[in-house]
């Protein structure tokens, strides 16, 4: 099962729309509520990051083989020092982002806490690719194929 969502940089009125669609999808698929929450919190933080920092981006969601794989690919300034960006409290967010209730440097670390697997690669002046994987293990495994 494959889905794609476009995200516009700077459009805070729409930020969260894609994550909302992901949540509805996972609910329809009867995924465990705890896994849904961790998945959509991670997705929302990542979507807000695209809106806050990039020019545009695409979210690719694949649900199969007992896992949810979400890839957040953006075109933007990229991240110079990923290790530093992962530090809680470090942020390069604008005032506009902070006015929206974000930009405290907690997004990436919160994604890491919620994700089963997380991988981030970035190229300065090109963009960032963030991959988040969630395992659908336990009693609720509707996607094993």
């Amino acid at each position: 099962m494959h889905f794609e969502y476009n995200v516009d940089g700077g459009d805070f009125t729409r930020a969260g729309y894609a994550s909302s669609q992901i949540k509805k999808l996972l609910k329809r698929l009867n995924v465990d509520v705890g896994i849904i929450k961790r998945t959509v919190v991670a997705a929302y933080e990542a979507e807000v990051n695209i809106v806050a920092h990039a020019y545009s981006g695409t979210i690719y969601v694949d649900v199969n083989n007992g896992k949810i794989r979400m890839t957040f690919k953006d075109e933007g300034p990229g991240i110079e020092d990923i290790e530093q960006a992962m530090q809680e409290g470090y942020s390069t967010a604008s005032d506009k982002v902070r006015e929206m209730g974000f930009g405290a440097g907690m997004g990436l670390s919160n994604i890491k806490k919620n994700a089963d697997e997380m991988e981030i690669t970035s190229e300065v002046d090109k963009g960032t690719i963030l991959v988040i994987e969630m395992r659908l293990n336990g009693a609720n495994q509707p996607f094993n194929q």
């Binding site: 805070f12 929302y44 006015e99 209730g101 997004g107």
Partner: protein, 114 residues
């Protein structure tokens, strides 16, 4: 504490969520920083905030927050109310400060998360 009792205690306005007045809330969290709200592991939390924008509602949606109080007379927009209704999130507007709102609810028995 039931939603209708929260509204009465705060002399507040129930913006949306009619039909859910008997919904019971046990724990609350107050923050204007949505990143903090997104770290909460609890479900069905009452959020008290002075941040009134679309991301407040989106954060509530992602965090399974059932009820949001906008303190210090902050107003929800039509779009925010529509999004809240779509996600069955109860919205309350209150003219008191965040501090007073928290104080009154704490006194009335609503518990903090930590």
């Amino acid at each position: 504490m039931k939603v209708k009792d929260i509204v009465r205690t705060l002399d507040a306005v129930l913006l949306c969520g009619s039909g859910q007045e008997d919904y019971v809330i046990d724990v609350a969290f107050a923050s204007d920083l949505m990143s903090d709200v997104l770290t909460l592991k609890h479900d069905h939390v009452l959020l008290i905030t002075g941040l009134a924008n679309m991301q407040t509602i989106r954060t509530a949606e992602m965090s399974d927050i059932k009820c949001v109080i906008f303190a210090r007379n902050k107003k929800a927009s039509k779009e925010m109310i529509e999004l809240a209704q779509e996600n069955e999130i109860i919205l309350i507007e209150c003219r008191y400060s965040v501090f007073k709102t928290c104080g009154l609810l704490f006194q009335a028995g609503v518990k903090p998360i930590y």
